[in-house]
Amino acid sequence: MDAIFLARLQFGLTAGFHFLFPPTTLGLTLIIVVVETLYRRTKNGIYKDLSVYLVKILGTVFVLGVATGVVLEFAFGNNWAAYSRTVGDIFGAPLAAEAVFSFFLESVFLGILVFGRNKVSAKAYRRSAILVFLGAHLSALWIIIANSWMQTPAGFRMEGGRAVLDNFVKAAFNPSTVVRFVHTILGGWITGGLVAMAIAAWLMLKGRTAEKAAVLMRTSLVVFAASAILQLGSGHAHSIQVTRTQPEKMAAFEALWKTMDGAPFTVFGIPDEKNERTLLAVHVPKMLSMLVHFTPNGKVLGLNEFPKDERPPVLLPFAGYHLMILFGVLFIVMGLAGLWLRAKKKLETCRGYLKLLIWTVPLAYLANETGWIAAEVGRQPWAVYKVLRTSEAVSAVVPAGNILFSLVLFVALYALIGAAGVGIIFRTIRGGPGDVEVGVRKGEV
């Protein structure tokens, strides 16, 4: 195994594992802010109990995000020294800004959320929740700015082999930043919404704290359903942006081997990259042209337009993109079904739906991960699109053996903290809202 492959694998695994937690934080902080706001309006203790419950879960999710996030701050120097030297003039700033504007905000006020409920007023507590929410979302903004610059670099010039900043606003708000930010945030809200709904569903199925479970279900259903529906629009806008700014990536998403006027949307298929064809393909004629150009005979560029050494791999982006869309559609259906059941006043009694909610939770995480894989593998062979190849971005001085060694340890450590973390989250959930005594064990406050 060569160093480039191992470095990519290490980044992929560490970033992919990390990416389980921030979307959860985005969604949970939103629901906590909603619950705290409802508590202020109604003074109903149910909301306070729910907030206590969700903050406990958030606390565990958050430390897992911190533990796995620290690695990424230094990963570019470790394994991607050539990358850091070439584009550090632009790429370093958003990472630093993320720490200054969001990590501090999130961490300091999360301390107050988790430990300070009895030390600050209800008003200050609600404000702390809002600031954690704000910090988490600002963090997403800065990291998406950095990542979007790799997809659609702007606001720079090349000078002596290094990218040099020309215009900060253009670099930060490059052609893909805003749409990718919205898409990622909505992915987080769907995730957090679904997690909260599943928790409520589990409480209902167990017949526990019925009133609180119902309130949690209603609140999170609104977040989940609205986000799932909005995600349809944001996903569509994102696809149009990719078609315009990274056409070979869209060609890989759709396994479109040849340029076509009136390109079909491939619902299912198995891309065969060697022979440039899609096996068992199920097409909807002219649908892709319709979607990205709003006209049935619009021209969509195929992979044949691009030199072979500038084409992304097809299988992973294709599979990731299509799975993500499949899950996205499923979330819309489930959101609408939930709203319909609620209107019929059957939401709490339809056990089939409640069970389905619980089993759907992993799909929210899979949707985030597959979308991310499609986006980043679809960017290949570039680390920074048309600026720097991934193969030229690695650290020259780090031997493959060192990367492998650290990779093995990362996997072992992440398995350990992941398993323990999930165990703790499940135990917190089982403790239930407002009857925490049930969950108290020896030695725990």
Binding site: V63, V70, G88, G92, S107, G111, V114, G421
Partner: protein, 336 residues
Amino acid sequence: MAAWDALRNAWFLLIGVLLAGYSLLDGFDLGVGALLPFLARTEDEKRSLIAAVGPVWDGNEVWLLAGGGALFAAFPLAYATVFSGFYLALMLVLFALILRAVSLEFRAHDAARKGLWEAAFVGGSVVPALLFGVALGNVVVGVPIDAAGEFTGSFFTLLRPLPLVFGLLGLSAFLMHGAAYAALKTSGELRERARRTARAMAVAFGVAFVLSFVMVWNYLPAALGKIVAWIFAAVVCLALVLFFAALKKGRDGRTFALSSAAFLGLWGIVGAIQYPNLVRASDPALSLTIKNASSSALTLKVMFLIALVGMPLVIGYTIYAYRVFKGKGDAGGAGY
């Protein structure tokens, strides 16, 4: 060009401020973590110490992330050389920080593996507290770098006498600082133990400081000509003397302030010796300096504005959070 140089100087200073801020704030919780098994005898005492750092360690650690991010943004060539060159050492620090980040939360909520997570907190505190000094010692004494700015040594290059002594100096400073904080935040028998430990660690710090001086004298004699470094060395000595006095009088707040001052003095010495180098090379002509390793003037300017807006806010709400959690510990409070 003049403006560019001014910005480079400002960023040299700012990164120093971020790292110093890190060592003052996360420094005490690293110290408390490393000393936990020595300071606390009972579960209640452990809980008191953990309650003293629980709400704040995470915000404290962000100073390191901010320092790392700022180094990347302002001096990307130094960031690339150090973190790819010191690969295995940095990985050890990262593994420690990963375990440490989850350890307190998991210790409180994963009863079956409580011992494991406690060990993770202690080990995860000791390893970075030792290795930060080793890493700093290396960039100060000089490392083999080629013309492309690539580190050409190995893991064992890092384990030379001066860096190792700097490692011990850093570790003793973290321990002294942590013990002083523990005394400030606890009461009774635990506080007395923390004060005795603080005294012992301050003695160790004094010894390590003298040893470090010998090392610098031997391996980096040019540093002895830096007047500013002598001034900061005097600050460290004065702070240490006053530290013993304050400790004796039981003035916990002042003791903690003085260990902070000693830490700041160390950073002053390092900055004075190091300027304008970021990473000294074994061949001085190849050293990475604030000039040849910096970002463009525009990037430095934008970053400066970000720091100018952001850092006062950070300092403001950090002070607010410390006021919320001020006073002696309360093991019976919310959380862990």
